[in-house]
Amino acid sequence: MGSGRLKAALAAFFLSFQAHALDPAAVEKLAFGDGDDKIEAIGALVAEGDPKAAELLKAFAEGELQTSGKRVLIVKGKDALDALTGAKVAPLPSDREDVVANNRLRGAVASALGAFKLASEDRNERLAAVRALADANAAMLPLIRKALETEADAEIRGLLELTAAGMELKDGPKEARLAAIRKLAASENPSTKTLLLEAASDQDEDIRREAQQSLRAVEGRLELGEWLGLAFAGVSLGSILLLAALGLAITYGLMGVINMAHGELIMIGAYTTYVVQGFFRGSAFFDWYLVAAVPAAFMISALVGMALERSVIRWLYGRPLETLLATWGISLVLIQAVRTIFGAQNVQVENPAFMSGGIQVLSNLVLPWNRIVIIAFALSVLIGMWALLAKTRLGLYIRGVTQNRAMADCVGVPTARVDTWAFGLGSGIAGLAGCALSQVGNVGPDLGQGYIVDSFLVVVFGGVGQLAGTVYAALVLGFANKLLESWSGAVLAKIAVLVFIIFFIQRRPQGLFALKGRAVEA
C-alpha cells in the first residue's frame, strides 16, 4: 500500500548513500544466526539504506521469511522471491523452514522501519514513525539527528528532540546528559519515566537531582492520564450496570414484580445478537450486524417477557414470594433451554471492526471503542425510555396503572394489557443490555446469573420506583467498584461494595431517592 511512497521517501533520504545490492552476509545472519546475530544484521541492513532492505525486514517481521537449504526466500501466499536477488522462485521448494521473529526482533525491525519513514513526505506518516521510535535503541541516534536537520513541523520536532534526548541521556558528557534530562521533563511518554528512574539513581549528584525534578514533572503529567482512565472505567462499568438494571427498574421498580428471570432475558438478548451475527457472516455488511441485532434483541426479549407475563406472572400479582419462586424456576428453565439449543459452551460474538482498538487521548490513556460505543448506547436507551414513559400515551398508562391501579381501571385504562406491555418493555430493555454485553464479555447460558444480583443492587440502591435513582446508583456503584479495585484488587473490591450496600440499605431502606408523597404501596 504505502510501499511506493516509502520507496520514494527512501530514495530521497538516502540520496547521499551509494545504492548497491543487499549484503549477503547480513541476509545470511538474519536468516540463520541467533538472536544477537539477527539484531546485528538488522542494524547492518538499515545502514545500507536500500529499499529492498526495508522490504526484507518487513517480510521478516511479518513471518514471511523462509529458508530452503542455503537460500533465503520471501514467501507471500504461493509466490516466493529470493531475498538476495529478488528473482522469482518457482516452484516452491518443499523443504522450507520458517525464520522465526520474536518480540525483541520485531521491536528492532519496527524501529528500524520507523527510521526509514522519518523522511516520508506525509506528515502523519512521519508522526507515526517518531512515535514508533520512542523506544528505539541508541543506534538510531544519527538517523534522528539527520531527520532533525530537515524537520520543519513543530510537533514532530518536539517528539524527535525528546527521543534524541532519551538516547543522549544514557551516555555522553555530563552537560549533554543534564540538558537531555531537562528536555525530558516535557515528555508525556510513559517510557520516559523508565529512563528518568534509571538516571535518578545515577552516581553523579547533579544528574540525580535534575532527574528527580524531571521525574516529578513527568509523573504529574502521567497521573492525570491515570485518573482519567479510572474515571472512564467507572463510567464504563456504570453504563453496563445501568443497561442491566434499566429493564429491572421497570419490571421491579415500577411494577413491583421480583423478576429473578431478568438476567436470563439479558442472556436471550445476547444470544439473539449471536444468531443475527450468524446471518450476516460472510456478507459485506458484517460490520453493521449490530444495527439489525439491536432491534432483534429488543423484540425477542420483549416477546419472551410478554409471554411470561401472560402465562405465569399475571396470576401472581401481589404475591411477591410466589413470584420470586416462579420466576426463579423460569430462569432455570430458560438457562437449560438455551443450553439445549446452543450447547453449554460459550458462543463467540465478534466485535465489528469499528469497535476494536481504541482512541489515544493522552500518551498513557487509550479509550477502547467498544466501551465508548456502549456508553453512548446506554445513554440513548436511557433517553428513549424516558421519552417513552414521559411523552407517550403508553408511558402515561404505565405510570397511571403503577400509581393507582383501581383509579386507572375506572377511567378506562386497559390495565391488564398495560401490564403486559410494561413487562414487555422492561424485558426488551434487558434484551438491549444483552446485546451490549455480548460486545465486552462472554456469551454463555450463565451470562444472566452474573448480572441479576448487580441489577437488583442498582435498583434497590437507587430507590425502588425511581428511574433517576437507578442512573445515579449505577454510576456510583461503577465508580466505587473501579476505585476500590485499583486500591485493593478485584476480589476485595467486590466484597467491599457489597458490605457498603448492606450498611447503606440498613440506614436508608428506601434507597438513594425515595418516592415522596402519596405512595404506591397503599
Binding site: R104, S191, T194, A344, N351
Partner: protein
C-alpha cells in the same frame, strides 16, 4: 460435498468393519471395560474442558477400532460436573462406586482436582490429570500428564528474563483467585527473588472466576510498566481470558512493550478472539498445534477428521489441538499400555506398570512416565501468538525434562519424597 460423501463412506465402512469385528470377537469374549470422563461441559471452565472430553472419546474410538484393551472394548461414561467443585467429588464417587469405572480421565482446575482427590484415595480409584498445575502433590491414585512448575512456569520466566525474551526486570503476576495461580505465583516469587528481583518489582493481582471487566487491571499493568521493562505472567483460567485479551488489544498494550506470558491459554482459548493486536504475546506449553513433527501431523489430522465426523461445534470447521488435549491423549494410551503390561485392570497393578511407560507424543518427543513420581518427563516450548491464532515456537528445551512436583523454591520441600507417600511407606 464430495469430501463429505467420502467421509460418510469411510464411516459406514468403519462401522461395518467394527460390527463385523465385534460379532466375530463376541463369540470369544464380550468383555467391556468402563472408563470415566470427568470434565466440565458447562460453566466457566467449559471453554477449556469440553474438548478434552472429545479427545478421550476419540482415543477410545481409536483403541476400540484396534480391538480394545486386552480384548475388552472401552465403554466411556461421560458426566458433567458443571465447573462446580463440590459436584466434581460427587460425580467422581458416582463414577467409581456406581459405574465401577477402571480409570477416570478428568479435571482441569486444581481446585477440582483437590476436591476429587480424597474420593480417589478413599475408594482407591485411578485418575489421569491432563493439565499443567502448581505441583505440591503426589498421590498414588493420580497420574499427572500435564506439566509441573519446572516444566512450564519457571522456564517461561527464565526466557522472559533472557536477552531474547526482552530482559524483563519487573513482574506483574496476574491470576484467577484459586489454588493453582496462588501456588504458582508463590513459587515464581521465590524463584524471582533467588534471581535478585526486588520485592517492589513484583506485583500480584487476582480476579474472581468468570471476571469480565479488565479495564483497571490493564491500566494498572500500564502504570506498573512505566517503572521498567515489565512482563506479565498470566494464570487466568477459563473464559475470563477472552475479555482480558480483548481489553489488552483494545487498550493497545503491545507485546513488544509488555509481553504477557500465559500458562492456561492455548489455541482453543484464543478461538474467536481477534488475535491481530495480540501478536507476540506468549504461552508456555509442552505442545503447540504448530509443532512440525510427523506424530503431530497425524494427531491433528485425526482430530480434524474426528471433529468433522462427530460434528463437534467449532472444531468441525476449524479443528484446533492444544497441550491438554495432547496430555489427555498420551494419558489414555499410557494407561492402555500399562494395563496390557500388568495384564489386569486392577488399580494397584496398573499403577505399578505405569512407571517407565513411554509414548511418542504428538509434540514429537518420546514422553516417559517417571518410574516413581507419577509425572511425565516433558519438553518445554515457548510460543508467540501469531496473527492467525496459532503459536510460533521461539524457544524450546533440548529434550524432555523431569518433573519436580515438590518445587525447590518452596521451603521445606527438600525433605519431601519424590514418590507417593504410601508406596514409600511400604518400602520403608
Amino acid at each position: 460435498m464430495k469430501r463429505r460423501a467420502v467421509v460418510k463412506m469411510l464411516a459406514i465402512a468403519a462401522s461395518v468393519a467394527a460390527i463385523g469385528g465385534t460379532s466375530f470377537s463376541a463369540l470369544a469374549q464380550q468383555k467391556t471395560v468402563k472408563v470415566g470422563i470427568l470434565h466440565s461441559l458447562s460453566g466457566t471452565m467449559a471453554i477449556s474442558e469440553t474438548v478434552l472430553k472429545d479427545t478421550v472419546l476419540m482415543a477410545i474410538d481409536e483403541i476400540n477400532a484396534k480391538g480394545g484393551v486386552m480384548g475388552a472394548k472401552i465403554e466411556p461414561v461421560v458426566v458433567d460436573p458443571a465447573s462446580n467443585w463440590p459436584l466434581f467429588a460427587e460425580k467422581a464417587r458416582q463414577l467409581i462406586t456406581q459405574d465401577k469405572v477402571a480409570v477416570v480421565f478428568g479435571c482441569w482446575t486444581s481446585v477440582s482436582r483437590k476436591s476429587v482427590l480424597p474420593v480417589f484415595e478413599e475408594l482407591n480409584g485411578l485418575l489421569f490429570y491432563p493439565v499443567q498445575y502448581e505441583g505440591e502433590e503426589i498421590s498414588k491414585n493420580v497420574f499427572y500428564t500435564g506439566a509441573a512448575p519446572n516444566q512450564q512456569a519457571i522456564p517461561a520466566v527464565e526466557y522472559l528474563m533472557s536477552k531474547d525474551g526482552g530482559g524483563a526486570k519487573r513482574w506483574f503476576l496476574l491470576g484467577t483467585d484459586y489454588v493453582y495461580p496462588r501456588t504458582t505465583n508463590k513459587i515464581l516469587r521465590a524463584f524471582l527473588k533467588s534471581k535478585g528481583v526486588a520485592e517492589k518489582d513484583i506485583e500480584e493481582v487476582y480476579t474472581p472466576f468468570g471476571h469480565s471487566d479488565y479495564q483497571t487491571i490493564v491500566a494498572n499493568i500500564k502504570k506498573f510498566s512505566a517503572g521498567g521493562k515489565t512482563a506479565v505472567v498470566s494464570t487466568i483460567n477459563g473464559d475470563s481470558n477472552v475479555p482480558f485479551y480483548k481489553e489488552l488489544g483494545n487498550q493497545g498494550l503491545k507485546a513488544t512493550d509488555v509481553p504477557v506470558v500465559a500458562f492456561s491459554v492455548g489455541e482453543e482459548e484464543l478461538r474467536g478472539v481477534d488475535t491481530k493486536p495480540l501478536v507476540g504475546h506468549l504461552a508456555a506449553w509442552n505442545y503447540f498445534m504448530s509443532i512440525k513433527a510427523p506424530a503431530n501431523d497425524e494427531f491433528t489430522k485425526k482430530w480434524g477428521a474426528y471433529a468433522k465426523a462427530k460434528n463437534i461445534p467449532g472444531h468441525k470447521d476449524k479443528p484446533l489441538t492444544n497441550d491438554p488435549m495432547e496430555a489427555t491423549y498420551i494419558g489414555i494410551y499410557m494407561w492402555k499400555q500399562a494395563v496390557e503390561k500388568a495384564k489386569s485392570f486392577d488399580v494397584d497393578k496398573v499403577s505399578v506398570a505405569m512407571g517407565g511407560q513411554t509414548f511418542t507424543a504428538p509434540s514429537g518427543i518420546t514422553s516417559t512416565m517417571d518410574a516413581k513420581n507419577h509425572h511425565l518427563h516433558k519438553a518445554v516450548f515457548i510460543g508467540e501468538v501469531k496473527a492467525d491464532g496459532q503459536f510460533n515456537v521461539v524457544w524450546k528445551t533440548k529434550g524432555p525434562i523431569k518433573a519436580q512436583p515438590w518445587s525447590p523454591f518452596i521451603p521445606g520441600n527438600d525433605k519431601k519424597k519424590d514418590e507417593p507417600a504410601l508406596m514409600a511407606d511400604k518400602k520403608a
